[in-house]
């Protein structure tokens, strides 16, 4: 690994009041990698995403994107630099159409100002068409699931699985280098879970994204990850291939308790 990692966290710590949510976390993701973050609830995984995307600011440590510190930047600035995410609890623009959700996310990469928009200049209209075309392209990535006629429907009319796909499409529209997927398979049945695994693989192989995934479903983690990072109580306990991490007694203990770790 000669090149510097795309994303790097060095000694990041964050506390809320007296509660240490993340402590001395070191993490790196190389370009083109798919890294999974696992850990029991409360381990600090979503907080990790919030730190990277600028919603929280770390008390200590540094976060680097392409070797440039992004600590203290506004979330939309961090997004412009190449970090896009989905949300654990789904945060779509429900009353906007499917297509509009994706088009909206193209804001940062476009530049038609208010004056040109109000006057509807040819340049602005060209840009609008381009935004629309790209949005449809992103949506087409999901094949038959998010088909044409769905694009005009309001987002709230989508099924749960489709909503998750839409959120990913929306994240893609911001033109990122790295995708942070927060529990993309949550609440899905086995067929859908399988599709998600395939989708993540395609996101890397076809679309070239670097991906950092939080996931609980070990089938998914096993199927997609180059590397797995296990967190517990805000501390990284183990890092490595899936086999190494899954069988590590510290990980077992974190999930199942000491007795399970010992008897395993």
């Amino acid at each position: 690994m000669a090149a510097a990692p795309l994303l790097e966290l060095r000694g990041v710590s964050l506390a809320f009041g007296g509660l240490k949510v993340v402590s001395g976390l070191d993490l790196h993701v190389a370009e083109g990698e798919v890294v999974s973050v696992i850990g029991p609830n409360g381990a600090g995984k979503t907080t990790l995403f919030n730190l990277i995307t600028g919603i929280y600011e770390p008390d200590e440590g540094d976060i680097l994107l392409n070797e440039r510190s992004i600590v203290g930047l506004e979330p939309h600035q961090i997004n412009r630099l190449g970090v896009a995410r989905t949300f654990q609890t789904l945060r779509l623009f429900l009353n906007m159409s499917v297509r509009e959700n994706v088009m909206a996310a193209a804001y940062g990469g476009t530049k038609a100002g208010v004056l040109r928009s109000m006057l509807r200049t040819p340049g602005m209209r060209r840009e609008e068409q381009e935004i629309r075309r790209q949005a449809e392209e992103h949506l087409s990535f999901f094949g038959e699931r998010l088909k044409g006629y769905r694009w005009d429907q309001p987002a709230y009319s989508l099924s749960y699985a489709n909503r998750r796909r839409l959120e990913i499409a929306r994240a893609m529209a911001t033109g990122p280098k790295i995708l942070l997927l927060d529990e993309p398979a949550a609440g899905m049945n086995p067929v859908e879970t399988h599709e998600i695994s395939e989708l993540i693989a395609r996101l890397r192989s076809e679309a070239g994204y670097t991906i950092l995934v939080i996931e609980h479903d070990m089938h998914v983690v096993e199927g997609i990850s180059d590397r797995v990072v296990a967190l517990d109580h805000g501390i990284k306990i183990v890092e490595g291939t899936f086999e190494k991490v899954a069988t590590d007694p510290r990980v077992v203990e974190a999930y199942l308790g000491t007795k399970a770790a010992v008897t395993k």
């Binding site: 939309h76 906007m96 399988h194």
Partner: protein, 487 residues
């Protein structure tokens, strides 16, 4: 639980079948009958259809009516429509509760007045003043919006309201700022110039009647703003505003600079209000601080919410409905008949064309006559109140209108009506039906004897009740889309 590999992928979505299922939601939300047809037609109409409708209606009005009063009301309505468009940006698109909106209206009006009147001896040409005030308004909106970055919902509302208070205080006391008379104080600024366009001063009165020119200017203002805002809404900025309203955090995470967008919403709303303010000042030929009050804020808000926040055509319709209603309520004579018509229509809407409605109306009428007869028997003075014209005389045989009202009757009957009305919402449908009869009668009594005596208070009571009712029963208003919210 079988393994994923065992399950057969369906051979592909069944075209026509899946789509039919997917569109089920749309079909269900359609209302049946002719209302549904109209709504469907309205939804599919091109965006400019409404605008053409408005412009045509206002343009043709002077041909239909030569009454100066009617033209004046039409002018004011057009002003309100434009104001409502501006507020729609901040509230409907940005989701920001700006209670100080009217302060920007004041800034536009006072700015124009200060630059086109004897106050400072400056008489700038209209084509300079109006765009200048638009820019000033935009800057003011930007500055006021700056605190909004840190504030959410309730707090933002209060801060903007404080801004309105500060503006009013400055305007009222502005005749003594460091020894200078800047704003004319409580007496305002008078002798404001009319608009000067194409080399002519446009007089406000033409042959003793309100000048049609200003009506056309007002609707032109409206149309310009309407078109500009529609295009803006259909652009990346509009999408960003709507995303901000849906979920500000997600919008920020998707690269939209939420704080800047909020400022822009404030700015545009303020600029629109200031724009409208200049025209207001020119036609009024004077500006007074007390015009720009909280009551005006509530009025514009009712227009926006009734019409449907987020919909340009909607808020314009809301403005028309509310302003016309307020005009009717200004004069007891016109308002009287109106309330009965509205009341019957409301009941018809609620009950449908069923036997229940007929029985209810019959019961109310009979109840009324009985009560009237009883009251007359006890004391003739109780029903001998004044009646102006034919309809009123017929009515006065039904409603109890005393010659004189003892002090306590008004408050007691009013409070009684309010309590009854609230109690109605708690009853079971059966009881509700029965109690509705005396409630309606009491309502007419209160209307005739209490509410009509004070049209000012009555107008605002109606607005207040409308706001509460709209929020509870139909928050999306007339033309707004029904929204799905996750709280």
């Amino acid at each position: 639980m079988s393994q994923p590999e065992d399950l057969q992928e369906p051979s592909g979505p069944a075209i026509g079948q899946d789509e039919w299922v997917a569109r089920h939601g749309e079909r269900r939300s359609r209302r049946s009958g002719w209302i549904g047809d109209i709504e469907e037609r309205a939804r599919r109409a091109p965006w400019w259809a409404w605008l053409v409708l408005f412009v045509a209606a206002f343009a043709l009005l002077p041909l239909v009516s030569h009454d100066g009063y009617v033209r004046r009301v039409a002018f004011e309505t057009a002003l309100y429509m434009t104001l409502a468009l501006g507020l729609n940006i901040v509230v409907g698109w940005g989701g920001l509760l700006d209670l100080g909106y009217v302060a920007f209206y004041a800034i536009g009006a006072y700015g124009y007045a200060m630059l086109s009147s004897p106050q400072f001896g400056i008489h700038l040409p209209t084509v300079v003043t109006v765009p200048l005030m638009v820019v000033v308004g935009a800057i003011a909106g930007f500055l006021v919006g700056l605190p909004s970055r840190r504030l959410i919902g309730d707090y933002l509302a209060i801060v903007t309201l404080f801004f309105l208070q500060i503006t009013q205080t400055v305007l009222v006391n502005g005749d003594q700022i460091a020894g200078h008379d800047l704003t004319g104080g409580a007496n305002g600024i008078i002798n404001v110039d009319p608009f000067h366009l194409f080399g002519h001063d446009i007089a406000v009165q033409h042959e003793g009647v309100f000048a049609v020119a200003y009506l056309y200017i007002a609707i032109a203002f409206f149309a310009v703003v309407y078109v500009a805002l529609h295009f803006l809404n259909d652009s990346r900025t509009g999408r960003a505003w709507r995303s901000l309203r849906e979920d500000a955090l997600a919008a920020e995470a998707m690269g939209m600079p939420v704080n800047l967008l909020k400022l822009m919403a404030f700015s545009f709303g303020a600029a629109t209000a200031a724009f409208t303010g200049t025209l207001f000042a020119a036609v009024q030929t004077s500006v007074f601080p007390l015009t720009f009050s909280f009551a005006l804020v509530i009025t514009v808000y009712t227009m926006v919410i009734l019409g449907g926040q987020g919909s340009l055509a909607g808020v314009a319709v809301g403005a028309i409905v509310v302003n016309v209603m307020l005009e009717f309520l200004r004069d007891p004579g016109d308002a009287r008949i109106l309330i009965y018509v509205v009341g019957v229509l409301a009941l018809a809407f609620a009950f449908g064309r069923t036997r229940k409605l007929a029985v209810l109306l019959a019961a109310v009428v009979i109840f009324g006559f009985v009560a009237h007869a009883v009251a007359e028997a006890i004391n003739p003075d109780w029903v001998a109140g004044p009646a102006a014209n034919g309809f009123d005389q017929a009515l006065s045989n039904w409603v109890i209108i005393p010659t004189e009202l003892a002090n306590w009757v008004g408050p007691v009957s009013y409070i009684g009506l309010v309590c009854l009305a609230l109690a109605l919402t708690l009853m079971s449908p059966g009881w509700r039906y029965v109690v509705l009869v005396p409630t309606i009668y009491l309502g007419t009594f209160v209307w005739e004897n209490v509410l009509l005596a004070q049209p000012d208070a009555t107008r605002y009571i109606v607005l207040g009740v409308m706001l509460i009712g709209l929020m509870i029963l139909r928050p999306n208003g007339l033309l707004g889309e029904r929204r799905v919210e996750i709280v």
